[in-house]
Symmetry: C2
Subunit: 152 residues, 2 copies
């Protein structure tokens, strides 16, 4: 019942991209440095994200990655399901024919409820929400540092 590093790192990388791209491509190396995630691993994640058309790539010097849609139009669910597959606690919530003996699967209702609860949360949060929160956090941080200096 964990979100693996794929989802976690991928989400952080996407928030980073939303924060820093301003019409220009961001190379993986930059994200790697800021987020402290290995370049190789990020490359894999971005390959998947690119195939799902959540980001687009620019090859060659001065290349990198950019978002393929507005941050408002990319949900957390888009990113996580792309990287980790469909969010369902068990297969029989996705594949209808999996539960071939439904009488033995009274627990099915529970899993459906759980899937709905999870999806409700991650579908209603977008990259824009997270980016704005990140920017806000950073301002707060700066203010705190400033105050500390003034006290000294």
């Amino acid at each position: 019942m964990r979100v693996s590093t794929k989802g976690r790192y991928g989400l952080r990388a996407m928030v980073d991209l939303a924060e820093h791209e301003e019409g220009k491509a961001i190379p993986i190396r930059e994200i790697s440095e800021r987020q402290n995630i290995s370049e190789q691993y990020l490359e894999q994640l971005f390959a998947t994200l690119r195939k799902a058309k959540l980001v687009k790539s620019v090859r060659g010097a001065h290349g990198g990655y950019m978002l393929n849609h507005e941050p408002e139009d990319i949900s957390v669910a888009d990113i996580i399901t792309t990287l980790e597959g469909p969010i369902a606690p068990v297969d029989c919530v996705i594949e209808d024919d999996f539960c071939n003996y439904i009488d033995k699967c009274v627990i099915h209702g529970l899993w459906s409820e759980l899937a709905d609860a999870i999806n409700g949360v991650i579908e209603n949060m977008t990259l824009a929400d997270l980016r704005d929160k990140a920017i806000e956090e950073k301002k707060r941080e700066e203010k705190t540092v400033k105050e500390k200096i003034e006290v000294k």
Copy 2:
């Protein structure tokens, strides 16, 4: 973002136990046959459930396992967290000191929300709920079979 077989099988086994125990211990062999789960694997799961005091064991001939509390008092969360560890999408929701650079972890709020959503579902469903549903399902099944025979 999956519940592993530990949680899934364990939950099925516990529902089976709630359905069939009537003051007497149920051997693993029976549960294994009904639920089609290997005896060896079930033994492992029950060892964990026993240590968590969710079930108690009776050794020797005519022995087996019984619930250690009323089905109304055992939640799905009890069973799943016992078998799979705390339900949290990421560690930093459990361990406060994990998020040592909180400014890099704007996503923390999302994970907390997700954990709350999940726990809300599984804490509010008990073994009694699932057992009752299983019994109901079985009646419905019997009725359907009977109707089919009558039609013939």
